[in-house]
Symmetry: C2
Subunit: 390 residues, 2 copies
Amino acid sequence: MISVSKALSIVEKYCFPLKSVTKNVADSYGYILAEDVISPLNMPPFRQSSMDGYAFIHSEENSFKVIAEIQTGISKNIEIKKGGAIRIFTGARVPDDADTVVMQEHVARTEDQIFIDKIPEKGSNVRPEGEQIKVGEVALEKGNFLNEAAVGFLAGLGIKNIEVYAKPKVGILITGNEIKKSGDTLAEGEIFDSNSLTLKLALKKLSIEEVEILFAKDILEETTICLKKLLENNDVVLISGGISVGDYDFVEEALKENGADQLFYKVNQKPGKPLWFGKKEEKMIFALPGNPAASLTCFYIYALPLLKAQMGFKTLQLPKLQAKSENDIKNNFAKTLFLKGNVENDIATEFSGQASSMLKSFAVSNALLIVPENVKIIKKGESVSYLKLD
Amino acid sequence: MISVSKALSIVEKYCFPLKSVTKNVADSYGYILAEDVISPLNMPPFRQSSMDGYAFIHSEENSFKVIAEIQTGISKNIEIKKGGAIRIFTGARVPDDADTVVMQEHVARTEDQIFIDKIPEKGSNVRPEGEQIKVGEVALEKGNFLNEAAVGFLAGLGIKNIEVYAKPKVGILITGNEIKKSGDTLAEGEIFDSNSLTLKLALKKLSIEEVEILFAKDILEETTICLKKLLENNDVVLISGGISVGDYDFVEEALKENGADQLFYKVNQKPGKPLWFGKKEEKMIFALPGNPAASLTCFYIYALPLLKAQMGFKTLQLPKLQAKSENDIKNNFAKTLFLKGNVENDIATEFSGQASSMLKSFAVSNALLIVPENVKIIKKGESVSYLKLD
């Protein structure tokens, strides 16, 4: 059995991005750039008015003759001479000879004449070509997360395809004779599956949508075959249950049959002690405990950082913050505890119902409070570390 | 022109949930419960062993005869008498007469006999039926967000359908002659659309996926028809561009033609001054500025809270936090400024490139720094409020 910090340091060794893939910009939300993106054009692509108003050649005169108007989206240049003004709108191309735009709010207009109450400085309200970015410049750097603004920005540059880090394909194997799919009829001794759905949705939150789910009875051959299939098709395999020392727990044997190498087994923590981590070639495997809350805890602490690393994220762990404990929190186990709780206004409250089978407290918690293995009690008012759930 | 706080207070008046709808639990991720969910069963549904070990009737004897074994998932009860023990596994049904389970780690076994080195307390390692939740109890309360743990928990209770608040259907109208769809060829004076993608993805982040997007040229009739269609099909309509006072901005007129009522127009802020908010019957409408960064800013500040309220969220605004300003931040406009920036370790840095057309700074920022309209300067080291972007 190893400590949490040792286990994390072993997982970290395998935290690096998958290969890069080419994606259409419109489909790139949630990915991370695997290469710098170079701008194919100037942005704005022409000198642009930033106001509705009148374009003119700057002078100290305040009376101009309106000679034409330029609607936004019209490409042709209009010649303009000193003393002339052109009606112009936000986003429209400023005539090549004009150097200044006055806001219409500062203008009085008659039929074909304008009078400017306050002449703006030369260059006012004209966005230079390439002000935001110039052709050939780096538009967005490698490593940038493609959020809604980033995707819109790249689409606005007319970029079609970009290189991003691939998202891992994830296989989930749910083991156990007692597991019935939701909707089936439950005989005594059986329970409904929740882990497949919980893990699938935790992956969806990471925007990992390619997920393959298999169910295996507690039979060695079935477990081995399912695991083989999942290892062939996926980058990461999550196994739920079957890894403790019970006589019908065949996961460890099925892992061996598949030629998987153990990197660690059992962590000095509660919940989630019987966690197994290993790999087969470049495929990574987490055998999570079957109990729902223990399974999800191990997912957040160990699997999530690895998956985020594969996607190219640099910040891997859930945010780790500090709060004041509302009550005494005892640790009688000499294990690292991950306690479902709530943090509001920097006050941390431990929930009742911490058993590793209890998913309910997870459903309403916003924090996992951490009590280190060597700490016997965190007293009321003392500082407690927590991982922020969202 | 009204202040930001006045504008927000007007939006707030229309912040309430849409009607509730019935959803399959498996498809309910990201929704909010519109009713308490009552548990249809006890959880666990039977007395369950929490360990791999042996079940027996508690006594001070430490030698027991192994008479049977119970695999997890097997329903039938096995009779047991004092002095007998039954091999049992985590999650399996504890025989009705047994009251205690001993961990296998504390047991030495011969062929059909076990010797327990330390007799556990009576009741140890037996999860009572209904320990987590009892039939008829409230499993999850109205108002709970359905995250991965909540969905898994409800599925684990065998619940099929639940009442949740409907997600709003959103229509997006992109206006402007100068807007070309990404992939088209750009003539001089034209720019690529980015707003439709940015807004669609900002909605996706809220898990709103039913989005209808239309494009309209700067022609009154086209704008009016598109708006009519979007108002018929959707709960909320976002319009991009066409709402300033330019002679070709037909959105205000199209809104009137559609019988929409103005609730406010123009907010004393930068960017995003020409924001229009209104409604037609129960349909809510935001006419956002066409400039990409201004459009997204208005979306975050005004549209997002309304959409979250319709989905049943109680916390509506982006998280508002405080940091120390790394530099002087000037406000020469007597407007509320929303400045793209970065906050790291409670130090807030304002980005260059704040023009309302510049989406790039949004793509790499994690905060919108707020300078109130009545503040002329936030000095280096002074506290600055910010909205956290993620």
